[in-house]
């Protein structure tokens, strides 16, 4: 259930189905992909009844397109991440195949989660393209591309350059960038080790299944001990097969962690944007300062700094006063323009910092809440696993006592 201010009524979004499709790709080659059914329902305030208003199919690449668009148009927002493109952090029982039904199912849930996060974001939920994503099946791709957002995107190179050269970024963003690097590293490590832990735990449980078989065989040669052994063996089988459900549940926990692993990248994107804007600002200020100085030098006739004009003047002779006047005028115009630009850039920069920081605070609260919930559900899973273990072994003990 989400609040959507754009429509001023409650809507429900769900990604309810996944389907394998075949089609032709851009290079006219056959390909297989999975399509996901997105259903939108509007909920009546008064009686809580929901009515299906829209339903359409989208594939993963379209979700990616939507997200890339949002990244460009809302650089001050920590844009929710998509579920992973390829299965990573798998342990041996999990398939790394994108077509594997379990992977598809988990991806379906992840995509639904993405849409819900966007729909519940106070800024993103108002976006038209997002609305069309949910309502306009055909032609949506063209509509997005027509916005020309790809052109507006900052080049990676420009961003990298800014990161290295910026002199005075807001300290908070520097710290946040550092934090998101560390967060990404620690969650990656956690997921890797958790996958290994799952693997080992699987092994422990499954080997116990062998007891079932050998107890059964042994019971065949025993008289009084036979029944007890046989029934205990059955419990060992139950124990061994219980691990499958346990680990399937744990994958849900891993997915919750993964979402925040990917969120770290979204945080970094906001920091990068700030650095870019700040760098831009610094460059503009620097440029303005040098123009002002040039102007001053021309006006007073002193050459304090090296300039090509100064050199050529020395080599080829002084310029006429008229020429000098003309140059000063041009410079004064440029300085005016520059000052306007600097003013607006400054304003932009401050607006960005204010809005970005507000969203970051919102994100922090969301993160703390979500991760605490995730840890609680993980603890609950462990408790359930322990209780099952106690149950099985108590049953087995009773069988043994009857031997």
């Amino acid at each position: 259930m989400t609040e959507n201010n754009f429509w001023l009524k409650k809507i429900e979004i769900s990604v309810s189905e996944a389907e394998k499709r075949t089609g032709r790709n851009a290079m006219n080659m056959q390909e297989t992909y999975t399509a996901y059914l997105i259903e939108t329902r509007s909920v009546d305030h008064t009686d809580g009844q929901s009515v299906l208003t829209d339903s359409l199919w989208r594939r993963y690449s379209e979700f990616e397109l939507l997200r890339n668009y949002l990244l460009v148009y809302y650089p001050h927002v920590v844009v929710p991440p998509l579920p992973e493109k390829r299965a990573e952090f798998v342990w041996h029982k999990l398939s790394a195949d994108n077509m594997d039904p379990d992977f598809v199912e988990r991806r379906r849930i992840g995509l639904e989660n993405f849409l819900l996060r966007v729909a519940s974001h106070p800024i993103l939920c108002r976006d038209k393209i997002f609305y069309l994503f949910l309502t306009q099946e055909g032609n949506w791709k063209e509509t997005v591309n027509e916005t020309g957002f790809q052109l507006k995107a900052d080049s990676r190179l420009k961003a990298l350059n800014a990161t290295f050269r910026v002199k005075n970024p807001d300290k908070r963003f520097t710290e946040l960038k550092h934090y998101s690097d560390e967060l990404q590293s620690v969650i990656s490590h956690l997921l890797r080790v958790r996958a290994r832990v799952a693997d080992r735990l699987y092994g422990v449980y499954k080997v116990h299944g062998n007891y079932g078989r050998v107890f059964s065989e042994w019971s065949a040669i025993e008289k009084e001990m036979g029944d007890g052994l046989q029934s205990a063996g059955h419990h060992m089988d139950v124990y061994a097969s219980s691990i499958d459900d346990i680990l399937e549940d744990e994958e849900h926990y891993a997915d919750q962690l993964k979402e925040y692993l990917f969120y770290a990248e979204a945080l970094r994107a906001v920091c990068r944007k700030h650095e870019l804007m700040q760098y831009d600002l610094e460059m503009a200020a620097q440029d303005l300062a040098s123009k002002k100085q040039q102007c001053e030098e021309l006006a007073t006739g002193t050459v304090r700094t090296f300039s090509l004009k100064g050199m050529t003047t020395k080599l080829f002779g002084q310029e006429t006063p008229e020429q000098r006047e003309a140059r000063i005028k041009v410079l004064e115009e440029q300085i005016n323009e520059g000052e306007q630009q600097l003013k607006s850039k400054n304003l932009e920069g401050r607006e960005f910092v204010k809005n970005a920081w507000a969203d970051i605070e919102r994100f922090k609260e969301q993160k703390n809440h979500d991760l605490k919930e995730a840890l609680i559900s993980y603890a609950v899973m462990q408790i359930s696993m322990c209780k099952k273990g106690i149950q099985v072994w108590t049953n087995a003990k009773e069988c043994f006592s009857k031997m």
Binding site: Y179, E182, L183, V186, I187, H189, L190, V193, R194, R196, V197, D199, R200, L201, G203, V204, V207, H208, N210, Y211, V214, E217, W218, I221, E224, M225, G228, A232, N368, H369, L371, K372, L375, I376, Y378, A379, V380, Q382, I383, C386, K387, G389, I390, W393, T394, A396, K397, F400, S401, M403
Partner: protein, 437 residues
């Protein structure tokens, strides 16, 4: 009698009997203090008196030379078996207090053997001696030689196969001590073996080595008759009941071997799981250091995983020390039982061969020659001893395995209970801040 004022014992070291475990504790544990049933002195005396009437073979006499009266004494023996439960025991043996001895030539461990008995075969009511593994080994060999018709319990393995295990580590010594204690208690419980002369000397002699040397002379006499018994006769067919025992033992050993392998595999997997857990827990700590509000919850999860790791380590240690050795012991037991079965076959084969020879001679009818009769006796004694021991063995086996497997289940239950407690205790910690919001 037990409970008297402490006095110097005719054996090594000044030990106080008051701090020794009460002999009426169960046969497989020496920790319980104060048994629930104390036999009255009268009953014990009556018991010892009853023993005197029996013609019981003590050490040194080969099974084959028992007299025709042995069948009645056999009956008496079997009847008395029923009386031997906790209340009417008159012999209690305990193995404890391992000590390391460092000498110029070697380093070894000795164990204290404490004996309490009202039997007349013992001069004193209490003894305390020190023995090392090779003394136990000697005893077992003597028992096998002198009581070839009986099933002798196994000893823990002599050599440590895996070079990784430290012969002097606490765990190894404790595991061995328990097995040696089990060994002596099984002999103590046996109505025939417990009266064996070598056993008596083992429990009481101050200088066992002197006796060992003396015994070498006896060995030749005994050795001959034993050789005589096992002299290359071929058995045509094992009687049904012994064939069944043989088949049973074969399958039994096979299944135990499989269980041993499974148990080892489980321990191995658990240890590998433990290794990963020990890396997993601390990552939550690392994460906790990055966070503000999440710091305590994450640290809590880390500590929780740490507790589960410790519980798992305890489980694997327990299984290695308590479960595996007992399995191995029973595998050894069934191996030695199979060789006793073979000896029985030999005795029967000899008898049948002799009988056939007589039949062919067509003389001495209807009287059966003395030596053939002796063979028949020997065979029937052997069969009876073996059957009785087999029944006892089956009943002990059932009890031992019930206890062993219940113990295994118990250890696993305890492990899960410890983990459950750890996780349940952090739920309030995780939830607490939520409400505070």
């Amino acid at each position: 009698m037990s409970g008297g004022p402490p006095r110097a014992l005719p054996s090594t070291g000044p030990h106080s009997l008051l701090d020794m475990p009460h002999p009426l504790a169960g046969s497989s544990s020496e920790e319980a203090v104060g048994g629930d049933s104390t036999p009255s002195p009268d009953l014990l005396t009556a018991r010892s008196f009853g023993d005197k009437d029996l013609i019981l073979p003590n050490g040194g006499t080969p099974a084959g030379t028992s007299s025709p009266a042995s069948s009645s004494s056999l009956l008496n023996r079997l009847q008395l078996d029923d009386d031997i439960d906790g209340e009417t025991r008159d012999l209690f043996v305990t193995v404890d207090d391992p000590k390391k001895h460092v000498c110029t030539m070697e380093t070894y461990i000795t164990y204290r053997i404490t004996t309490k008995s009202t039997r007349v075969e013992f001069d004193l009511p209490e003894y305390s001696v020190r023995r090392r593994y090779q003394d136990f080994d000697w005893l077992r060999n003597k028992l096998e030689e002198s009581q070839p018709t009986h099933l002798i319990p196994p000893l823990p393995e002599k050599f440590v196969v895996k070079g990784v295990v430290d012969r002097f580590s606490e765990e190894f010594v404790e595991t061995r001590r328990k097995a040696l204690d089990k060994f002596l208690k099984r002999i103590t419980d046996h109505p025939v073996l417990s009266f064996n002369e070598h056993f008596n000397v083992f429990l009481t002699a101050k200088d066992l080595n002197a006796y060992k040397k003396q015994g070498m002379a006896l060995l030749t006499r005994v050795g001959e008759s034993v050789k005589h018994v096992t002299g290359g006769y071929k058995l045509r067919s094992r009687p049904l009941e012994f064939a069944a025992i043989g088949d049973y033992l074969d399958t039994f050993a096979l299944k135990l071997g499989t269980i041993d392998r499974i148990a080892q595999r489980i321990i191995k997997e658990e240890i590998e799981y433990l290794v990963e857990l020990r890396e997993y827990g601390p990552v939550y700590s690392t994460w906790s250091a990055l966070e503000g509000e999440l710091s305590e919850p994450l640290e809590g999860v880390s500590a929780c995983i740490g507790n589960c790791s410790t519980a798992l380590e305890e489980l694997t240690d327990d299984m290695t020390e308590d479960f595996l050795p007992v399995l191995r012991e029973y595998i050894l037991y069934s191996d030695s039982m199979k060789s006793v079965l073979k000896k029985r076959d030999q005795v029967q084969a000899e008898y049948e061969a002799k009988l056939e020879a007589v039949a062919l001679r067509k003389e001495d009818r209807p009287k059966v020659p003395a030596d053939v009769e002796k063979c028949q006796d020997r065979m029937e004694c052997f069969n009876a001893d073996l059957k009785a021991d087999m029944e006892r063995w089956q009943s002990n086996k059932r009890q031992d395995f019930r206890q062993l497997l219940m113990g295994m289940a118990d250890k696993n239950i305890q492990y899960y209970e410890k983990c459950l407690m750890a996780w349940e205790s952090i739920i309030p910690l995780l939830q607490e801040k939520q409400e505070a919001k």
